[in-house]
């Protein structure tokens, strides 16, 4: 496929890897921000091609993972109502709340529907005037234009039986949060290419300047990611900290103005709780007062539900790049994609789920067995 296949060329990947080997002289810790980037890195084994000095840690950029348990329980309470058609992106369906997931609710008779686009919910609302159609509006800045447009169009078209449950998160406050942590190891970021397609790159410059951390806005294909690593390593080796744009074929400095305009008309910035991390100031979007009639959180009063995360799970530390999935004793044992204990295993884009999907737990198991065998033979 054009603009995909070219960026998976093995010969060129090798050239970039050689160039990274030439550029690096010291150990560096880089974080790729997006879950999609993590997925590509593990799928293609890119981290295993890099010099041992370059460590990739996996970032918090998986909105399904970081949606708070309280919000998921709220979604489940709304979806259980007989007067509601509850619409969601597919990857949200198997995320466990305190009591089951959306699949289980559907099997018990709830009308839960997977939509490709939030705009599809308007068709469902028009076709079902006696029902309340609710869309679970999760996502980063990439998804905000689509979710905002659904509400903006509903208002324009006079659709009154449609609302959204908003759990939007924003990348820059999370990057600042990671840098402020006393446990921080991250020395540079591979920035979120699709978030920046919408928002542009300027809002990353204060983070670079304040924390002296290079940020290279990077795409999602193997060559994009390897070039992003190369650009980042070159900055680190030169003692620089700038915003650079690897993903120039898509991302412009200013981003997408029409999209930003609709986002700003529909949403305003608010504090947001991240699963596994906690509340981060000004790190989310909520609906503006003018759109309160489309706010499911306001329309459906849900009781505050006491939630409890697994005491075994270390996903908060994985999301901040402090720990790797295999540092967790529950990884691949008590915690698997079929029975996830926490944020980073619940979605295919979570770091733990990506490690699991591409067999890293077997590899690590084999390595530890081999080490064990060595110890035995040495003894």
């Amino acid at each position: 496929m054009k603009y995909l296949d070219e960026y998976r060329n093995e010969g060129i990947a090798k050239k970039i890897v050689d160039e990274i080997h030439r550029a690096v002289t010291r150990p560096w810790v880089l974080m790729e921000v997006c879950g999609g980037q993590t997925h590509s890195i593990i799928k293609y084994g890119l981290d295993e091609l890099l010099p041992k000095e370059v460590e990739l840690v996996h970032g918090p950029g998986c909105p399904v993972c970081v949606t708070s348990l309280e919000m998921i329980d709220k979604a489940h309470a709304i979806a259980s109502r007989p007067d509601v058609i509850f619409c969601s992106f597919g990857d949200m369906l198997r995320v466990p709340g305190s009591e089951g997931d959306l699949h289980i609710l559907k099997s018990r008779g709830a009308d839960v529907r997977v939509v490709y686009s939030p705009i599809d919910c308007l068709k469902i609302a028009r076709a079902n005037p006696d029902k309340k159609v609710v869309f679970f509006a999760i996502g980063f800045e990439t998804t905000a234009p689509a979710n905002a447009m659904s509400v903006w169009q509903a208002k324009k078209q006079g659709i009154t039986n449609f609302s959204i449950l908003v759990s939007h998160v924003l990348v820059p406050p999370m990057l600042a949060h990671i840098q402020q942590s006393p446990l921080n190891r991250v020395q540079a970021f591979l920035g979120p290419g699709h978030v920046c397609t919408v928002m542009g790159i300027e809002e990353y410059e204060p983070i670079c300047a304040r924390y002296r951390v290079p940020i290279v806005i990077t795409g999602f294909e193997p060559l994009d990611l390897l070039e992003g690593v190369l650009m980042t390593v070159r900055q680190l080796e030169a003692g620089e900290a700038r915003v650079e744009n690897q993903y120039r074929r898509i991302v412009s400095r200013q981003g997408n103005h029409p999209a930003q305009d609709i986002i700003n008309q529909v949403f305003e910035v608010c504090d947001r709780k991240w699963r596994g991390v906690g509340s981060i100031s000004k790190s989310g979007y909520k609906l503006r007062y003018e759109f309160r009639d489309y706010d499911a959180d306001r329309i459906f009063e849900t009781r505050e539900i006491e939630t409890q995360e697994s005491p075994l799970c270390i996903s908060g530390l994985v999301l901040k790049g402090v720990k790797k999935p295999h540092d967790c004793p529950a990884f691949g044992r008590e915690c698997t994609p079929m029975r996830p204990l926490g944020a980073t295993m619940v979605s295919a884009e979570g770091a733990c789920a990506a490690y699991y999907a591409y067999g890293r737990q077997r590899q690590l198991h084999n390595e530890s067995e081999a080490n064990q065998a060595l110890k035995v033979s040495a003894a």
Binding site: M1, K2, Y3, L4, E6, Y7, E10, I12, A13, K14, K15, I16, V17, D18, E19, H21, R22, C34, G35, G36, E48, L49, L50, P51, K52, C62, V64, F89, D91, Y116, S117, P118, I119, G139, F140, T142, T143, P145, A146, M149, Q153, K156, P192, H194, V195, T197, V198, F220, E227, R248, R249, I250, V251, S252, N256, P258, A259, I262, S347, E349
Partner: protein
């Protein structure tokens, strides 16, 4: 979740509610795409699509430049390679081998 893929615009139209839409081809699969955020897009352009919305136009000139720059990497790299190299030319090293 932020998955977005490039598709080629093969038709531009308006839906009954005045929303600017397109049909885009993704390697053989044709889907409806909303063009409200990329009004400048023309037939034949490649757009980056996320959950049914075109978020940007692929800059073909920039894409070509980046790709050619990456292809040219080794030619530049060879300049600082040692002059005497006993290994046979063009023998592919396994990916990821340490230098």
């Amino acid at each position: 979740m932020c998955l977005a893929i490039p598709g080629k615009v093969i038709a531009i139209e308006e839906d009954p509610h005045g929303v600017k839409m397109a049909k885009a081809n993704f390697g053989g699969i044709v889907k409806q795409v909303c063009l409200e955020y990329t009004p400048e897009v023309e037939l034949g352009d490649y757009v980056l699509v996320h959950v049914g919305f075109a978020l940007g136009r692929v800059d073909e000139e920039e894409a070509r430049r980046t790709y050619q720059a990456l292809e040219a990497l080794q030619q530049l790299g060879e300049l600082d390679a040692p002059e005497i190299d006993a290994s046979p030319p063009n023998e592919p090293e396994p990916l990821g081998a340490a230098p």
